[in-house]
């Protein structure tokens, strides 16, 4: 049971996707209610199936659990496995993925009004890909899911997106693939590097990520090149400045569900990859490049904040705020100390619940007013008090008010950054003020002040369904904010190992 859970978790959504595609249900283009219920049930079951990870990977757990590995195919003498498993780095992200998928499935009927069957199909395929990326423990398994995941998102934005969706999808696809093919070359190089495994007299070829993490020793120059190949792929995916330009386009053109998935899960893959691969595989290169990447992280934080400040479109503002909030994750990761790394992982989860909530809120107001211009609102708190409550709370979580999730992540990251490079830590901490400035001024302009537009007087407040969709995310802000120990205790052992691996090389 233990090992097959990983497998079930990965392929349950895919089976569900096929079920949805071929279900003999007639219905309009909007999809019959039964079809939606079916997909939602699949999402819920997957989420429930992922809960054992939380208990199974309890506080203080070390190493890989739920390991599932079968021989897949071989290329000459290289035996490739289909290997999945959970460790401290991936456990929270997998749970986040299954949760966000459920939320998307329940929030989507309000804005997906055409080709519902295809939508649900791609959404579930996407979930399979995302879970697979986090669980994969073999380079080929990883790369397969990494690439496969792109196609569903391509369709999600391309079919259900906004006016400039074709431009946005192409840009997104080509940026991401350009990065990942470089990573592919590096992977080809890695799997062709023989490793001296214990129990083998001669070095052997293996594509197991775990073996590489333990036994790979590369000359410094090789490490530099491979580090760059991996890092560029991940930095594009994060995205950090200067590879960030695909993100605002993708976010703005994506339907709300696409944005939620993008912000909630996909952007975490870049930072996940940095911690999973770049740090432990190429420790010497990591030490060499770490200051540069910390600077890139801070630039992302500041530049994203400035860009967000200048936006007049709500969704663009949230999109740029993502860039600003992901910068600290890169900063914390390359601070290379326990605070920075744990802060990064918490910040990933925190951003993964707060930003989707923001996108959902933006989507909800867009469905009512069909505009996202900040100037079109004002004084909405009077007509939509529940909406106002959620928006304020989410904004606080996002800017890092103590007691809410954002605070924990950012605090840990900045402590880590201070320890590693005090000046940069100071700049970064000061940069957070900008975050508060643009987010709070957005809240002020949307919610408070006089009601300037007639239309805004008649807006309907959030309904029960919308509140229920937001509720789990809000609970998570509070949970992470108040009891961060439950989360950090699960990740700390794994992160300590990675950190030790890097510092050994010093």
């Amino acid at each position: 049971m233990d090992s097959s859970l990983s497998l079930i978790l990965t392929f349950l959504p895919l089976l569900g996707a096929l079920l949805v595609l071929f279900a003999p249900l007639r219905g309009s283009d909007e999809g019959s209610p039964v079809l939606w219920r079916l997909a939602q049930a699949i999402g819920l079951v997957t989420f429930l199936a992922s809960l054992p990870l939380w208990t199974g990977y309890g506080p203080g757990t070390e190493g890989v659990k739920f390991l599932f590995s079968v021989p897949w195919f071989h290329i000459q003498t290289l035996q490739v496995h289909f290997a999945l498993g959970v460790d401290g780095l991936s456990v929270l992200l997998v749970l986040l993925t299954t949760l966000i998928s459920v939320i998307v499935l329940f929030s989507a009927p309000s804005h997906i009004k055409k080709r519902a069957r295809e939508f649900l199909f791609w959404l579930l395929v996407m979930e399979c890909g995302m879970i697979g990326v986090f669980l994969a423990l073999d380079f080929f398994t990883f790369y397969l899911f990494w690439e496969v995941m792109l196609i569903p998102l391509y369709f999600l934005i391309g079919i259900w997106g906004g006016k400039r969706r074709l431009y946005a999808t192409l840009k997104f696809f080509i940026y991401t693939v350009a990065g990942s093919v470089l990573m592919l070359l590096a992977i080809i190089f890695l799997v062709r590097t023989p490793l001296a495994l214990p129990g083998n007299e001669v070095p052997v070829l293996t594509s197991s990520i775990l073996d590489h993490l333990k036994y790979l020793h590369l000359p410094v120059t090789t490490q530099y090149y491979l580090f760059l190949a991996f890092a560029i792929a991940f930095l594009i995916k994060v995205p950090t400045v200067p590879f960030h330009t695909w993100l605002p386009d993708a976010h703005v053109e994506a339907p709300t569900s696409g944005s939620v998935i993008l912000a909630g899960v996909l952007l975490k893959m870049g930072t996940y990859g940095l911690i999973r691969f770049c740090l432990p595989l190429f420790p010497k290169a990591t030490l060499f490049f770490a200051p540069w990447l910390m600077v890139i992280g801070v630039i992302g934080l500041l530049y994203g904040a400035f860009l967000a400040w200048a936006q007049s479109d709500l969704k663009k503002l949230v999109a740029y705020s993502s860039i600003s909030h992901l910068g600290p994750i890169v900063l914390g990761t390359f601070a290379l100390n326990a605070y920075g790394l744990e802060g990064s992982v918490i910040q990933m989860i925190s951003h993964g619940v707060a930003t989707p909530a923001l996108f959902l809120l933006v989507g909800m107001i867009y469905e009512r007013r069909h505009t996202r211009e900040i100037a079109a609102f004002g004084g909405i708190a009077k007509t939509m008090p529940i909406f106002a409550f959620f928006l304020v709370l989410t904004t606080f979580a996002s800017v890092g008010l103590p007691g809410l999730s954002g605070f924990i992540g950012e605090f840990l990251i900045f402590v880590g950054a201070f320890k590693a490079w005090p000046l940069l830590g100071a700049i970064a901490t000061a940069g957070v003020i900008f975050g508060a400035v643009y987010m709070l001024s957005m809240v002020r302009r949307v919610l408070f002040g006089p009601v300037k537009h007639e239309e805004n007087k008649l807006l309907k407040d959030l309904g029960l369904r919308e509140v229920l969709v937001l509720a789990p995310l809000v609970i998570l802000f509070l949970w992470i904010g108040l009891f961060p120990g439950q989360f950090t205790s699960r990740t700390s052992k794994t992160l300590a190992q990675i950190q030790a691996k890097v510092l050994e090389a010093r």
Binding site: W72, I75, L144, G158, R165, L166, L170, L184
Partner: protein, 502 residues
């Protein structure tokens, strides 16, 4: 000198003899039978059967050549065939591949015929000429001697000249035929001229002998042979549509009947690369930069040219030029690779790529020929719009083929690219590998344009658009399933190649 054919010779040539006899039989039947549906079915079935027979004979030979086979291979070719013909695992695989590509093209062509066309009268000839294609290609592939290679090249070319111009009622088809013929004649002339220079240099036309001369680096005759080799290669580059010898490709692909485009784009490319492989040891190391340059140029020209195309056949023609570039990357790796292992890896990568590219391109063009007769507009990106709703199956097959051409997992195309890049890295050609892989990212743009047209755009009409012919539909489904299956379990096919070496 006395010429005699031994029974072993017959055995070795069996995969090619099947289609030869099939073609002769079809030719006779076509004369004797009254034209009609029954005769057509017979002709079609007989052609397919003869190709299938050839494939089975090839498979039997391949199994026989395996080291694990209980009887050790003691194939001693007769005095006639021995000096001119290779009989090695990779040549056998090559002929199986060529026969297979022809078989699929012929199956796909079923949808292309339409009652009342002027060409319908030439149904038999179409089959005869198609059957001769793998024969010529097979001779080219097995040739150890340049004269035999030339004969193979001519058999192949002449059947294609006619087939390209097959739709006499359409100007484009005739124009394409003429273009292909004129440029092809140039190519053939280059081939002959190169052979003549080689003869001047080394005193005979054998490929292996030439290799030793070049390796020993004899001073005077060497000059002629090297020059001749270079000129000969131009002829092959022309056939494989490698830039800058690619100019004819888009026009000819566009004008030719779609099943023939499918056959040309896959079969001819494979045949040309097979002779390049035979001749791999022929050129001196100094030529490696030339291959590098041509690979880069083909990838650039192909990808850049495809970006602006609106006609799908032209788009696939340019994409074919880019793919020839990727193949050349592997070929270059084979040429520079140190020792047998590297060369073996590169050769396997080449064969795998040719097979995968073949089946993928056949699927893509097959979809077009499947629907073309119902809606001729389908060959343009404009006409493809909304196909995802009008004919989901055809759209899905085309989408899978496009993703495979782009090299996105889990399709076979990904593993094909993987093999090529791995071979290139193994041979230490990392800059070229990086260039090729970035080139393939440019390629994404236009493959995605196909997906955009299929799924993201609404067409002018929303009526269902059925394909023409069940057999074609099944063949296409087979191709698409094969692409996915090899994509998920690549060693199904890679294992076949394990023992292949030069």
């Amino acid at each position: 000198m006395h010429f005699s054919f031994t029974s072993t010779d017959f055995y070795v040539l069996l995969p090619l003899l099947f289609p030869v006899f099939g073609a002769i039989l079809v030719l006779c039947l076509d004369l004797l039978l009254k034209p009609g549906k029954g005769a057509r079915t017979l002709v079609h079935g007989l052609s397919l059967l003869s190709l299938l027979g050839g494939i089975l004979a090839g498979v039997q030979q391949y199994l026989y050549l395996q080291p694990s086979h209980p009887l050790p291979p003691k194939i001693a070719l007769g005095p006639l065939l021995e000096p001119v013909f290779h009989f090695q695992p990779w040549t056998v695989l090559g002929s199986i591949l060529l026969l297979f590509l022809t078989l699929i093209s012929l199956l796909l062509s079923g949808a292309w015929w339409k009652e009342g066309d002027e060409e319908f009268r030439a149904y038999g000839e179409f089959h005869v000429l198609t059957l001769f294609f793998p024969v010529g290609a097979g001779l080219l592939l097995g040739a150890k001697n340049l004269m035999l290679a030339f004969i193979g090249l001519e058999i192949l070319s002449i059947s294609l000249y006619v087939l390209v111009a097959f739709r006499r009622s359409r100007t484009k088809s005739v124009e394409a035929g003429l273009k292909y013929f004129l440029l092809g004649a140039f190519g053939a002339a280059f081939f002959v001229y190169g052979s003549a220079l080689i003869y001047a240099g080394q005193g005979n036309l054998d490929l292996p002998a030439m290799g030793t001369i070049l390796q020993e680096g004899l001073p005077q005759p060497f000059g002629y042979a090297a020059l001749g080799g270079a000129i000969l290669f131009i002829a092959l580059f022309f056939k494989a549509s490698i830039a800058p010898f690619h100019m004819w490709t888009p026009d000819v692909y566009e004008g030719a009947p779609t099943p023939i485009t499918a056959l040309m784009s896959t079969g001819t490319k494979a045949a040309a690369f097979f002779l390049l492989i035979s001749a791999a040891r022929l050129f001196p190391h100094e030529l490696v930069p030339v291959f590098t340059f041509l690979a880069i140029l083909s990838i650039l020209v192909g990808n850049a040219g495809a970006l602006v195309q609106t006609n799908l056949k032209r788009l696939l023609a340019y994409s074919g030029i880019a793919h020839a570039g990727y193949l050349l990357v592997a070929y270059q790796a084979m040429a520079v690779g140190q020792g047998q292992t590297d060369a073996g890896i590169a050769l396997r990568a080449l064969l795998f790529y040719l097979a995968v590219y073949g089946i993928t391109n056949l699927a893509a063009l097959g979809v077009l020929s499947w629907i073309e007769r119902k809606d001729p507009e389908i060959v343009t990106l404009e006409g493809l719009k909304g196909l995802g709703r009008r004919n989901p199956i055809a759209a899905a097959i085309l989408a899978i083929a496009a993703l495979s051409l782009a090299g996105i997992p889990p399709t076979a195309g990904f593993w094909a690219k993987y093999q090529i890049f791995a071979a290139s890295i193994q041979a230490g050609q990392i800059p070229l590998a990086i260039f090729a892989i970035l080139g393939s990212v440019i390629g994404l743009y236009y493959y995605l344009k196909i997906l955009v047209a299929l799924y993201f755009k609404e067409g002018t009409s929303s009526e269902t658009l059925s394909g023409n012919g069940l057999a074609t539909g099944l063949t296409l489904s087979f191709c698409a399933s094969a692409i996915l299956l090899v994509g998920i379990l690549p060693d199904l096919f890679l294992n076949v190649l394990v023992n292949v070496r030069l």
